[in-house]
């Protein structure tokens, strides 16, 4: 067992509090992703787990080893935790093979290095120096180097951000596959939602030094616990609603809740842009309730259209966003907005749940 458990972790840089009570659990063999904007403390979290930065209070445990409890720290070189930084940080004076073999006892190198070169798809390139490799190849070497000593845990700090978009998508799929083949437990930090959703079994959204929610990508996308998490995972329409058992009355009519809240009060429901459909007058007949709106802006994105509409209803200050497969009506056209599928009600503010509950909910859902 080599899962990672972080409990109530606090840390500071100089006078700034960077982490303010982080809780995170990653189980053995799981690929986790910490998602957050730059400056939210996600890199610091990684550096504390790796042993490069001290925690103020809180504990970091891998398997049954306590690595940092705010007073005593295991040294980085004793932790058996692999680390892949943003730029790879290959040792420029060593070949790819020597880089990969760096953390291995001399006797094991001959056997293990070719195996890892194979794993990351660089067989035959072991003699190259870092400057003779492309950016993507360098990152693969960095990954192989971190995996070579069979670490209990692998940490990846925005490892793909320096690459161009196409290569980034390709490499993250490959890396995720390689990690699963190696049976590694890994934590990746990123500010890129696509990366988080594509890579991870478990996503933890981080803001202002705390993890606001963690769960499966599906869980976070469809059942966020607050507006910030909802928006962190993609665009979201948040509408005021009167909750009543398993229904919510919204400006879009009375909609079925994905999960009954058991609450009978005013709240907020979330609809992803894909849940909104725009209708012209002709095909509104089959809908009991529609919301009149005006098309404010449209953007063609290749795979779909992003449409902003201004609702003609009181209490809706923000434009609604819808993604449509077919070309939307031109700007200024009057349309009817309808909602499809059940909607998710955000938990009441103040009762906002954090990581543990998110985790529980996720396991109950299974």
């Amino acid at each position: 067992m080599s899962g990672l458990t972080v409990t109530d972790l606090h840390a500071h840089h100089g006078r700034n509090d960077v982490l303010r009570g982080v809780d995170l659990t990653v189980k053995d063999g799981e690929l986790a992703c910490v998602l957050g904007p730059s400056g939210c403390g996600k890199s610091t979290l990684l550096r504390i787990v790796a042993g490069f930065h001290p925690a103020t209070t809180g504990t970091v445990t891998v398997g049954d080893r306590v690595l940092d409890d705010g007073r005593r720290r295991e040294r980085a070189e004793k932790r058996r935790i692999g680390y892949v930084p943003q730029d790879g940080a290959l040792f420029p004076h060593l070949t790819a093979a020597a880089n990969i073999g760096f953390g291995l006892p001399r006797a094991e190198r001959a056997a293990r290095v070719p195996e890892l070169l194979d794993l990351v798809g660089l067989a035959g390139l072991g003699d190259r120096h870092p400057h003779q490799l492309s950016g993507g190849q360098q990152q693969r070497v960095a990954l192989a180097r971190a995996l070579a000593p069979r670490p209990d845990l692998l940490l990846l700090d925005e490892p793909f951000s320096a690459l161009d978009a196409a290569l980034r998508a390709e490499l993250r799929t490959e890396v995720a596959a390689a990690l699963r083949r190696a049976g590694a437990t890994a934590v990746l930090v990123t500010h890129d939602v696509d990366e988080a959703l594509a890579f991870a079994d478990l996503v933890a959204v981080m803001r202002d030094g705390r993890i606001t929610q963690s769960g499966t990508p599906d869980d976070l996308f469809h059942r966020p616990t607050d507006a910030h998490v909802a928006r962190a995972l993609g665009e979201a329409n948040l509408l005021p609603a009167a909750l009543n058992g398993d229904e919510a009355t919204t400006p879009l009519g009375t909609l079925l809740l994905a999960r009954p809240t058991g609450r009978d009060d005013a709240g907020t429901v979330m609809l992803r842009p894909r849940q909104l459909r725009l209708l012209t007058r002709a095909d509104t007949d089959s809908w009991t309730h529609t919301l009149r709106a005006t098309v404010a802006a449209t953007q063609f994105r290749g795979h779909d259209h992003r449409v902003e509409v201004t609702p003609a209803a009181d209490g809706l200050d923000h434009p609604l966003i819808a993604y449509t497969d077919t070309a939307p009506p031109p700007v200024g056209t009057s349309v009817h907005v309808v909602a499809t599928g059940p909607v998710h009600a955000l938990p009441a503010a103040g009762a906002a749940t954090t990581a543990p509950t998110g985790d529980l909910a996720r396991h109950q859902a299974r």
């Binding site: 899962g3 458990t5 972080v6 409990t7 109530d8 809780d23 995170l24 659990t25 189980k27 550096r47 790796a50 042993g51 490069f52 504990t59 445990t61 049954d64 080893r65 306590v66 690595l67 409890d69 007073r71 005593r72 720290r73 295991e74 040294r75 980085a76 070189e77 004793k78 932790r79 058996r80 935790i81 692999g82 680390y83 930084p85 943003q86 730029d87 940080a89 290959l90 040792f91 420029p92 004076h93 760096f102 953390g103 870092p130 400057h131 490799l133 950016g135 360098q138 960095a142 180097r145 971190a146 070579a148 000593p149 670490p151 940490l155 990581a355 543990p356 985790d359 529980l360 396991h363």
Partner: protein
């Protein structure tokens, strides 16, 4: 799958005995900052010793010493010389740099190397070359002529480096906005070079304050020569140290002035990113004029000394045979110089590492302290070491270790700059990654960090070693009794007006300095074949 949440995993319950598995703060963690601070203190302590010695005399005596008319004369001499030499060096250095970097002047590469070459000729050898050929070269104008032709490369090199690296786009945009070439030169190119000009001027002024040999030869009294005379002939340590304190105050004043000038205007000089060099400006009909000016500059600064050395080498060997001891003297000199180079380079590693790893205020303060010692005039450092030895380490006085210590104190900033700039090229994360792979900190240093900065260590060693091998002032004060270096033997001959006998020593010193200057030129201007471009290209 088991139900896990942070609260149920209860790490506290399963925590192993703390002492056996976890490490607390170890002494090792504090070793680097401590070493760095000790080195910085050692290097900066000369200042304290001079102050201590000066303080021995008490306030009244100090005021009396400073009230002498001689001090006013010295101040006047020093100020006049500093003003003339700095101004002339700025004009010549900038002009030469602009010609070789931005115009279509023929033989630009050759001129670049030649224009930097005066640095290979120690100032006192420069003085000797002029005085031995033309005894009328003396006083303020003689001193200015010699010092300008010897020091203008200190402006030329940094300005040329800025011109080579800065974005030519700014000049092109200015042209497109309707400015003529001269207007662009004045309003765009010159401001771009402002920090480099200020830095060069600072170095020129500091060299002037600390120089003894050349001024003694040109019979121009400055603070440095006065301090030397007070100490060597009158053996008046208190008077010497009071004067040294004034000299240090002047140096610090100049440092502050330079910092103020640099801060005055925006200093955002975007480095060229496109890799596209500026199109050379055609000189047109002024080309012969520019060529003539450049030739005159190089002819004065390099041609005259080379001619003088050649003349005296030929003439000297026909009359008085050069002493056969020159080779053993060279070895002695190199022994001391390379010893100092090894110590300075080794000591520079912890300071550079500390400043590089931790960007804390303390780390920056330690590094800044060391750089500030660059402002200490050589003669003040030498005096401080003498004071220290006489007061606290009598047995060491006029012993070999003291001379080495003096060289280290003098040239430590040189070593630090070289080590620091090579460290700056190392990505920070490599040390972290190496540790995460299970390598102990000392092993990380040996397997990763040191191999990566090896070229920088080599440069530091070479720069300190070659510079120290032509040092005169401190050597005269600190050398072990009965020991001579190339510089002191040369000095003995020239004070006896034995121009011919002195020439071989001057020639060997110059030859020893040439590699250092080539190294400096290449490091300052950058070489397209070095690994930096390789790094940038990936």
């Amino acid at each position: 799958m088991t139900l896990t949440s942070p609260s149920s995993s209860a790490p506290l319950a399963t925590r192993p005995p703390r002492s056996s598995r976890l490490g607390g703060w170890r002494p090792g963690a504090a070793a680097l900052p401590l070493t760095a601070m000790v080195v910085a203190l050692l290097v900066a302590c000369p200042l304290g010793f001079v102050a201590l010695e000066a303080g021995q005399s008490g306030w009244d005596a100090t005021r009396q010493l400073l009230g002498r008319p001689m001090v006013l004369t010295l101040l006047g001499h020093t100020a006049a010389l500093t003003a003339v030499v700095t101004a002339a060096s700025l004009v010549l250095g900038f002009g030469a740099a602009w010609l070789v970097e931005r115009t279509d002047l023929p033989l630009r590469r050759t001129f670049t190397v030649l224009a930097a070459m005066p640095l290979a000729i120690p100032e006192f050898v420069h003085g000797y070359c002029w005085v031995s050929l033309m005894p009328s070269v003396q006083g303020l104008w003689g001193a200015s002529l010699v010092m300008v032709s010897s020091l203008y490369p200190l402006v030329f090199l940094p300005v040329a480096a800025v011109l080579r690296r800065s974005d030519a786009g700014a000049a092109e945009v200015a042209r497109s906005l309707g400015h003529g070439r001269l207007s662009v030169l004045w309003r765009v190119t010159l401001p771009q070079c402002r920090p480099a000009l200020a830095g060069g001027a600072l170095l020129v002024a500091l060299y002037l304050l600390g120089e003894y040999g050349a001024f003694a030869m040109l019979r121009y009294t400055t603070f440095a020569t006065a301090i030397f005379t007070e100490f060597e002939t009158a053996f008046d340590m208190t008077s010497a140290s009071v004067l040294a304190l004034v000299l240090i105050a002047l140096a610090l004043l100049i440092v502050l002035l330079q910092a103020w000038v640099v801060r005055q205007r925006g200093r955002v000089v975007r480095e060229r990113t496109s890799g596209r060099p500026a199109a050379p400006i055609p000189l047109g009909r002024t080309k012969p004029l520019a060529l003539l000016a450049m030739t005159a500059l190089v002819g004065t600064a390099v041609g005259v000394p080379v001619y003088a050395l050649g003349y005296w080498l030929v003439k000297g060997s026909s009359t008085t045979l050069p002493s056969a001891s020159i080779w053993s003297l060279t070895l002695t000199t190199l022994g001391y110089a390379l010893g100092a180079a090894a110590v300075a380079t080794a000591a520079a590693i912890p300071v550079a590492l500390y400043a590089w790893r931790r960007e804390t205020r303390l780390a920056r303060a330690v590094e800044q302290t060391v750089y500030l010692t660059r402002a200490l005039p050589g003669i003040a450092v030498a005096l401080a070491v003498v004071f220290f030895a006489i007061r606290y380490a009598q047995p060491l006085y006029q012993q070999a270790p003291l001379l080495v210590a003096g060289y280290v104190a003098l040239f430590f900033p040189l070593a630090l700059t070289a080590v620091r700039s090579s460290l700056a090229q190392v990505p920070h994360a490599v040390e972290d990654v190496a540790r995460s792979l299970g390598t102990r900190p000392l092993a990380v240093l040996a397997r990763v960090t040191v191999p990566l900065i090896l070229p920088g260590l080599g440069a530091a060693f070479a720069m300190v070693g070659l510079t120290a091998s032509t040092e005169l002032t401190a050597t005269l004060l600190l050398r072990p009794t009965g020991t001579d270096t190339l510089a002191t033997q040369f000095w003995t001959y020239t004070t006896g007006l034995a121009w011919g006998a002195a020439a071989p020593y001057a020639a060997v010193m110059t030859a020893l300095s040439v590699p250092a200057v080539l190294l400096l030129t290449r490091r300052t201007l950058g070489d397209s074949r070095t690994h930096t471009t390789r790094e940038a290209g990936r």
